[in-house]
């Protein structure tokens, strides 16, 4: 396998890089492959644009997301009437809202722009939490082995059998209920203050973290098992390296690639989990805009004002497309097993 990779790396090197820089050239090779993959470059660019839009939402959005102008409710700009002709006759025209106003007269466009904040934060924090828990758990299990491994993995198996969608709904209800009106000064109060400062996202992170780490733990364990007996680990042990050093300096860097790829591919799942939770009303706190909550509000009126559903739905779909393209590209670039087949 290694020999094949070297050849592959050399073949793709226009400048004829030295074999002695194998590690770096593999990485450079992966990056080059990623940039050569047009779909993943487009995906990355879309994510970049979305991220900029989320960061500078105050500038991009034309109106604040929470201001309700009740007399403007359900108004649409005239270009939308051309797109959805059936709205002619009952829809009131108001050009001040680029994509129309929602059922309480908030600007749809501005809410979609601000909604990117929620989805992208989940896309960023979700993988971090599940990597953190999963990698620590999985690497301990895989590295220590034996009985500990057995017990730890059986626990993962049991949690795996818990229907995760139901678990996350129950967890959200638990968090929302328990920490609804806590006493000031307590830990619960601090948590709930932090959560409302984040617009209700803290509990979504915790929920995703609690349900998503098992997959990561299994993957990490498998990876640790596959490199644990390799020569370089043996060498490090012979040189007297401690377990922690072997784990974090020698094993972890070598298994990180597949873990990052798996996590990138899991991001669309986290985004849709958040959207689903907000859709059923257990996600972010109103009036924080979330695409899921907007789709839910809009779908009540999809027959009369389809724009209120379609635009947030498109935003969600485009974001998930972008992450899927990027994740696929990353996998193809970093997973050596797929090199031959691509």
């Amino acid at each position: 396998m290694t020999a094949q990779l070297k050849v592959e790396a050399n073949k793709n090197d226009a400048g004829g890089m030295q074999l002695s820089r194998k590690r770096e050239s593999l990485f450079v090779d992966a990056v080059r492959r990623l940039f050569r993959n047009r779909a993943s470059v487009i995906g990355g660019m879309i994510i970049l644009i979305l991220a900029l839009m989320a960061i500078f939402a105050d500038v991009v959005a034309v109106k604040p997301y929470q201001v309700q102008v009740l007399e403007d409710q359900n108004t649409v700009p005239s270009w939308l009437i051309k797109v959805f002709p059936q709205m002619e006759g009952y829809a009131r025209i108001n050009e001040a809202y680029p994509l129309g106003a929602d059922y309480v007269g908030r600007d749809l466009f501005s809410r979609i722009v601000y909604g990117a904040r929620v989805s992208l934060t989940v896309a960023l924090i979700g993988p971090l939490i599940s990597l953190l828990i999963g990698v620590v758990y999985g690497s301990i299990s895989g590295y220590v082995g034996g009985r500990t491994d057995n017990i730890m993995m059986r626990l993962v198996d049991v949690l795996y059998a818990y229907p995760s969608l139901l678990f996350i709904i129950l967890l959200m209800a638990f968090f929302r209920g328990t920490l609804a009106r806590p006493e000031p000064g307590t830990f619960a109060y601090a948590i709930s203050q932090f959560d409302s400062a984040l617009g209700g996202m803290l509990f979504i992170f915790i929920g995703i973290g609690v349900t998503a780490w098992e997959t990561m733990a299994r993957l990490t364990r498998g990876q640790v098992l596959s490199v644990r007996e390799k020569e370089f680990v043996e060498a490090a042990r012979t040189l007297g390296a401690s377990d922690g050093r072997i784990m974090f300096r020698h094993i972890l860097p070598n298994i990180l690639g597949p873990l990052i790829v798996a996590e990138t591919l899991a991001i669309p799942g986290y985004i849709s989990t958040e959207a689903f939770l907000s859709f059923i009303g257990l996600g972010v706190n109103p009036p924080t805009p979330s695409w899921g909550a907007m789709i839910s509000d809009g779908s009540q009126m999809v027959r009369t004002y389809p724009n209120q559903t379609i635009f947030p739905a498109l935003a969600l779909a485009i974001t998930m497309f972008a992450f899927n393209f990027l994740g696929d590209g990353l996998r193809d670039a970093m997973d050596p097993r797929l090199r031959g087949t691509q």
Binding site: D157, L159, L166, F174, L314
Partner: protein, 351 residues
């Protein structure tokens, strides 16, 4: 093999125990009770209600009472009356004794219906939807995956994989409302909401009217739910088939002069489908639980709405019953798949 199955069944018991304890603890830890109202009930009535449903007992006792009703059959020498009290999922007769088994208890919210009633009426709809979504996933996923692999790097491959990316990228909450708008409202091909079957069902979940009356309601939700899974199946089939056609035994089959079609159908396909079979179990379970989202977007009277409202209502027996049932379902689906796996690939032995 027998020992393996026994071990897996024991494991099922452990799983259900852990799942039930977590669920029971978590839902009782949520503040507020099932009988909290905007205007508080008089204390006497609250007390009576709590006593009626054992809610005044310590939580461990409540758990024990609940699990006893579910797990241990109850028998008596007269008929069980058709009351909410004497209801159960399974009623049978042993000798002179009338027995009932698996009573998931009353629903605190809808006073005239038990959780068993909800399961009997709503669960079949969720099951139908799950089965149809899996069918859609297989019908779309398998052929496009096979085609993409056999015609690698052609337009078929790119087209199939683009559809696959579309499938995994568009969640049901996006696809659902869009489909309702396009096919239900704008084009008017299908009714935008509703469901076309009513109990009683054949074998507990198969509807009696399998005609257009039924499918006109079912097609949109089944496609919306199944499309994501079809993408996963397509990608997996493609990757697996690409790997298998590079194996030595395929070269051998070609070398001995076997026709290409036979090489593919007899040798390559059969082996490449093994990984696909392994994900069908978790996928089916995910589809059946995933019907929640679909049911909410398409207004289907399945388990989804009941579960979500039961949580806000603190309707403990509905929450417990639903989660237990789905957990049983998940574990059994995985067990069946593991057994099929061993059958398909004789190298795998469970001892």
């Amino acid at each position: 093999m027998g020992r393996y199955i026994v071990r897996r069944l024991l494991y099922l018991v452990v799983v259900l125990f852990v799942v039930s304890v977590i669920t029971f603890g978590l839902m009782h830890a949520v503040p507020g009770g099932p009988f909290d109202r905007e205007k508080a009930l008089p204390p006497d009535i609250m007390e009576n209600l709590n006593r009626r449903y054992n809610l005044d007992q310590p939580i461990v006792v409540q758990y024990g009472l609940y699990m006893r009703e579910v797990l241990i059959p109850k028998c008596q020498d007269t008929h069980w009356l058709a009351t909410t009290e004497d209801d159960a999922m399974i009623k049978f007769k042993v000798g002179n004794l009338y027995c009932k088994w698996m009573n998931f208890g009353p629903s605190y919210r809808s006073r005239s219906r038990t959780v068993n009633d909800i399961f009997r009426d709503q669960l079949p709809i969720s099951m139908q939807l799950g089965v149809m979504a899996l069918t859609v996933a297989l019908i779309i996923g398998l052929p496009s995956g096979i085609l993409a692999a056999l015609k690698q790097n052609t337009i078929f491959d790119y087209l199939g994989m683009s559809i696959a990316i579309f499938g995994v990228s568009v969640p049901v909450i996006v696809l659902g409302p869009l489909m309702v708008y396009v096919f239900g409202v704008a084009l008017g091909w299908f009714p935008p909401t509703g469901w076309g079957s009513q109990p009683p069902y054949i074998l507990g979940f198969i509807p009696r009217n399998l005609g257009w009356d039924y499918f006109k309601y079912a097609i949109m939700p089944a496609v919306a739910l199944g499309l994501g899974s079809s993408a996963i199946i397509a990608r997996l089939t493609r990757a697996s088939l690409l790997q298998v056609v590079r194996e030595d035994y395929i070269r051998t089959a070609r070398a001995k002069g076997l026709r290409e079609r036979l090489v593919i159908t007899q040798h390559a396909l059969k082996n490449s489908l093994i990984p696909v079979v392994t994900i069908l179990g978790p996928m089916f379970a995910a589809l059946v639980t995933g019907t929640f989202v679909t049911e909410l977007t398409f207004g289907i009277p399945g388990m989804g709405r009941y579960f979500v409202t039961s949580i806000t209502n603190r309707d403990y027996p509905v929450i417990m019953g639903t989660i237990l049932l789905y957990a049983i379902f998940l574990v059994i689906a995985n067990l069946v798949v593991d057994l099929i796996y061993a059958y398909l690939d004789p190298r795998i032995r469970y001892d």
